[in-house]
């Protein structure tokens, strides 16, 4: 096991896939000569040259579409968005083209493109730089959405994403890029898309979380354990396909569930998971499923308001207290 930063783990996965498959290339704003706005692509230019590591203009719609076309025509593009907030400009290519072209043409082509970059908030950047887009894209048929929380998962999953025959959105977190973790150094380490991991075992309550929220829940779990409440923490890792089986197995054991989601409440991952749990495990539930999300308010800049806005361990503890009828 090597200790890698989150960004290094993603980089390692990309590097391995580029070495393995000449068709893989990466493009995006500042990915080449600048070595990546957040240094995820550091060193790739030097290693693979200007053909395969390509700086783009600030033309999200244009270069996303070039990625889609290149994928249709035999390549394996990795398209980096500086953040998924900017990918909103490319939404037409993701929603109307990458996810639909194959079906519309009756399977005549495929579109193995990876769109990746930081998702959700990165601190005091204000309203237009802080939104979680995983649930939005998960809504649309044909898109795979991955949102890992730890370096090891990130490495194994980015490799799967690049090998996928279909369009994948791979979401990262700017705030987690520097976070270190043990990463398997098994040769060609692959984590299959669509399998959740139980990140902590516990009998009292199931908590579901992805990305940064996994770490918020871990904090809360420590608190809760002090009071004798053992959290079972499930990290789906892939928002879509969503591994409801693992979640339901846990809920059927704990009979209680909280979903923690760094999105706004309306129709986010928490709503979907919560809905499915009540439908599939109704008779097992000892309390309604609760969720912890952002409020239905844009991201404020001010540190004080930001901290209020951002989901924290205290809110998780409260939600767990609610489903366990404590406190």
């Amino acid at each position: 096991m090597a200790t890698l930063q989150f960004r290094e783990a993603i980089l390692a996965g990309i590097d391995e896939e580029m070495a393995r498959d000449e068709r893989v290339f990466i493009m995006g704003e500042e990915v080449a000569e600048y070595n990546g706005a957040y240094k995820v692509t550091e060193g790739l230019l030097e290693k693979y040259g200007f053909k395969r590591v390509i700086d783009t203009p600030i033309s999200e719609l244009g270069f996303a579409g070039i990625g889609v076309g290149a994928a249709m025509n035999g390549l394996r593009p990795i398209v980096e968005f500086m953040t998924f907030n900017f990918a909103v400009l490319a939404a037409d290519q993701i929603i109307n083209h990458a996810s639909k072209a194959r079906y519309m043409l009756g399977g005549q082509l495929s579109c193995p493109v990876v769109f990746r970059g930081p998702n959700a908030s990165a601190g005091q950047l204000g309203a237009t730089h802080s939104v979680a887009y995983d649930s939005m894209y998960a809504h649309f048929p044909g898109l795979t959405v991955i949102y890992p929380s730890e370096p090891d998962d990130a490495k194994g999953l980015i490799k799967s994403a690049i090998r996928s025959e279909d369009p994948v959105l791979f979401m990262e977190s700017e705030q987690m890029y520097g976070m270190k973790g043990e990463v398997s150094d098994a040769e060609d380490y692959i984590i299959p898309i669509g399998k959740a991991k139980v990140k902590r075992q516990g009998d009292d309550v199931t908590v579901v979380a992805t990305g940064k929220m996994v770490h918020v829940v871990k904090q809360a779990a420590v608190e809760l354990a002090k009071n004798g409440v053992e959290v079972e923490l499930i990290d789906p890792m892939t928002i879509k396909p969503l591994d409801m089986e693992t979640i339901l197995t846990s809920v059927k054991k704990t009979n209680r569930c909280v979903v923690v989601d760094e999105a706004h409440p309306f129709g986010g991952v928490a709503a979907e998971v919560g809905f499915l749990i009540q439908r599939e495990a109704f008779d097992y539930l000892d309390a309604p499923v609760q969720r912890v999300t952002l409020p239905d308010v844009n991201a404020p800049f001010s540190k004080k308001l930001f901290d209020l806005w951002f989901p924290d361990a205290k809110q998780v503890v409260e939600a767990v207290n609610a489903v366990t009828y404590r406190g």
Binding site: K51, G69, G106
Partner: protein
């Protein structure tokens, strides 16, 4: 208030003088309604030899033009009979563009276009049977009935399909060219779109990137004078081909009612692209005879304008040329036409008799890899 806003006009006004208001001051400018539609550049090849076409090619071209025309006329009848629903955008009048282009290109050069795609499909690998079946939504359609009129395609023949989001396929065309350059396979990509698509930001982004990266792609505006009911001069400023200037991109303007010009110019451009790997921006001026789709009252144009174009109809012109120059006998033309007529009737029978897709097909062709459908269980129950 009431007096004030007489003076302000934002969008330039249309052709019907009773509705126009007075286009004065800021809102005036180019007012001739026919300006963009009729203002065809001169043909650049006086005859087929000058264009570099053989007699055999001319025969194939006539067959193709006639097929496109007849296929769509019948498709329209089928639509009116209620054989299928949705949109039906006819290419009739523009066939010289598809026909000339496809001959100017190598068979493995790539073509992508918008939703007005039947003509393109028929000249590039979609059989009449597959095309008609697609319109009917049958499993035997070129896109298995999943795409319909707007999504003809024959990817194995390098026709990447029709796309329904105006401008959406423009960057995809750039991406196909990107992959060709990456793979150094020498293929040239051609990306066709309407004058309406010129106003989409996707065009600008793609032109800049393709010029910057030297992608072997020809971007072609099929300027047929109208974006739905809006005359070109009412939706886009300047002459369209002049957009290239901003990017320092090579450009051309071609008479799209003249088959020989289309062939000759597109061939020269494709040769240049193959040699230099530099993109082009080309405006081909042409005209559609039918409405935008089937429900278009066409109040935005005059019968006179339409008639003017029909005088130089590419089908009639080629037929006349072939007969006058004794490149084909009257009988040979008739036989060919009869053959195609029958082929199209057969295609209708084929479509009629073909099965609809099986229910399972609903969930097929979504994924190239392992399929996943969220909450599918709920749907099946």
């Amino acid at each position: 208030m009431a007096t004030k806003h007489k003076d302000i006009i934002f969008a330039p006004v249309g052709i019907d003088p009773t509705k126009n208001g007075k286009a004065t001051g800021a809102a005036s400018g180019k007012q001739s309604p026919l300006e963009k539609s009729v203002d065809l550049p001169a043909p650049t090849a006086a005859n087929h030899k000058e264009a570099g076409l053989s007699k055999a090619q001319l025969h194939t071209m006539y067959e193709q033009i006639y097929l496109q025309r007849r296929f769509e006329e019948r498709a329209m009848q089928m639509y009116q009979k209620g054989k299928f629903g949705g949109f039906l955008h006819l290419y009739i009048g523009q066939e010289a563009v598809s026909t000339g282009t496809v001959h100017a290109l190598n068979d493995d050069d790539d073509i992508i276009t918008a939703y007005r795609d039947h003509g393109w499909g028929l000249v590039r690998g979609v059989t009449p049977n597959e095309g008609m079946a697609e319109l009917f939504g049958k499993a035997t359609g070129c896109s298995k009935g999943k795409g319909g009129s707007m999504h003809f395609a024959s990817v194995e023949n390098h026709f990447w399909g029709g796309y329904g989001i105006v401008g959406g396929h423009i960057p995809i065309g750039g991406g196909i060219a990107f992959a060709n350059k990456y793979q150094q396979n020498g293929r040239v990509t051609t990306c066709f779109f309407g004058d309406g698509a010129v106003d989409q930001g996707a065009l600008h982004e793609t032109l800049n990137i393709c010029q910057l990266w030297k992608l072997p792609c020809i971007f072609v505006v099929e300027n047929n004078g109208y974006s739905m009911g809006t005359a070109a001069r009412r939706h886009t400023v300047n002459e369209i081909h002049e957009r290239a200037k901003g990017y320092g991109m090579k450009s051309a303007i071609i008479n799209g009612m003249d088959l020989f010009s289309v062939y000759k110019e597109m061939k020269a451009i494709a040769d240049d692209v193959r040699k230099t790997s530099e993109p082009w921006f080309v405006e081909i001026r042409t005209y559609r005879y039918r409405g935008h789709s089937m429900s278009d009252p066409q109040k935005y144009r005059t019968k006179e304008e339409l008639a003017e174009y029909q005088k130089i109809d590419p089908l009639e012109k080629l037929r006349g040329y072939l007969l006058e120059n004794k490149l084909m006998t009257e009988k040979a033309v008739k036989d060919l036409e009869a053959k195609i007529d029958q082929q199209v009737l057969d295609a209708i029978d084929f479509a009629e008799e073909s099965p609809f897709p099986e229910n399972e097909a609903l969930f097929e062709d979504m994924y190239a890899g392992e399929p996943y459908f969220h909450d599918k269980g709920n749907f099946e129950s």
